[in-house]
Symmetry: C2
Subunit: 200 residues, 2 copies
């Protein structure tokens, strides 16, 4: 069974987190959410994670604390970074996550980033390649990457997307990469999209 680790922090965009997590579960992926504390956090003992306060006030209980040594490509097939300005700032500035992003891509695993989460491509010092993001952070990314305005951009293992409105195409792309095209098609019907909804 393919598996994915999705990061969550205070300020994560809760639609991007929830749509990705839920759609991956529908797509036969074992998903774990990991709480990333702010870099300035004084928390040193990691017993059980607090609720993450989403960007619009929904409180979500993560499955576990982020532990770098439990998050490597030997444990998961993909890591995923949602947006939300404050949450993406916390996640993208966490050195252990920057290192994981490089390691996953070097080992031909999948790294998903959506919305402001794409800033992690910059902080992880990834080489210039096709990428997209929320328009609000385009200026930070357009020089270091081949910036695209497609809803979903796949550059080898790096999958990027734009915002809550593209979260379904983003999540379905990840399902296809992790579980195959047949599984992707199988789960679309019960989700009841409007006729002619663009899903790529």
């Amino acid at each position: 069974m393919p598996s994915a680790l999705i990061f969550i922090a205070d300020g994560t965009e809760e639609m991007e987190f929830t749509i990705t997590y839920d759609t991956l579960v529908r797509g036969g992926v074992q998903v774990t959410s990991a709480f990333v504390p702010e870099p300035t956090s004084s928390v040193t003992t990691h017993v059980s994670p607090p609720a993450a306060k989403g960007s619009r006030g929904i409180n979500i209980l993560p499955d576990t604390y982020f532990e770098p040594q439990e998050s490597g490509p030997d444990k998961y097939d993909a890591i995923i970074i949602p947006g939300g300005a404050k949450g993406a700032d916390t996640i993208s500035k966490t050195p252990a996550i920057q290192e994981l992003v490089r390691t996953y891509l070097n080992e031909d695993k999948i790294v998903g980033m959506i919305c402001a989460g794409s800033l992690t491509a910059l902080t992880s010092k990834l080489p210039k390649q096709p990428l997209t993001s929320h328009p609000s952070v385009k200026d930070s990314l357009k020089d270091g990457f081949d910036y695209s305005e497609e809803s979903v951009v796949v550059s080898n293992g790096l999958v990027t997307s734009r915002g809550p409105g593209t979260a379904f195409p983003f999540a379905l792309t990840l399902v296809e990469l992790l579980s195959g095209a047949a599984k992707r098609e199988e789960i679309i019907g019960p989700m009841v999209f409007p006729p002619n909804a663009p899903l790529r």
Copy 2:
């Protein structure tokens, strides 16, 4: 400021809950989530609500416990019932919610139901009128209502929709009814939908 109460229970479809809550907050609506215990629950003291376990395993902390006397149309402009088979079963079979549904509609307030949440129209014994739902519960609803397969159906104050894939059009319709068409248009841009995405 317009306000809305959205119900959540164990088994609620977390995308439908989150997309609706978050989009309404973006649309200038003050949103409160209320936990609805199963009818067989032995919990008698309501201090702080437990996390609701979503249909695909995401744990969400509700803002408050559902208290019928704090949930009337004097307190909110709308009540909203998300889907997810088990969560919708709990919510639709709660007599105090059935009574609220009738009261809100009688007072020309708004009642939103999506996916299996539309079963609450049946359990609340609403009169025959246009309605939609998740296809899986169509057979329970097609005789008592003018069943439609539109993504969103507005029948006076009753707003119904189909599933996670129609949750954005559903939420944007509620924003328009609660905050106006200009607010609806204002929030669509930053959500970054794909070009030509059907949003009604």
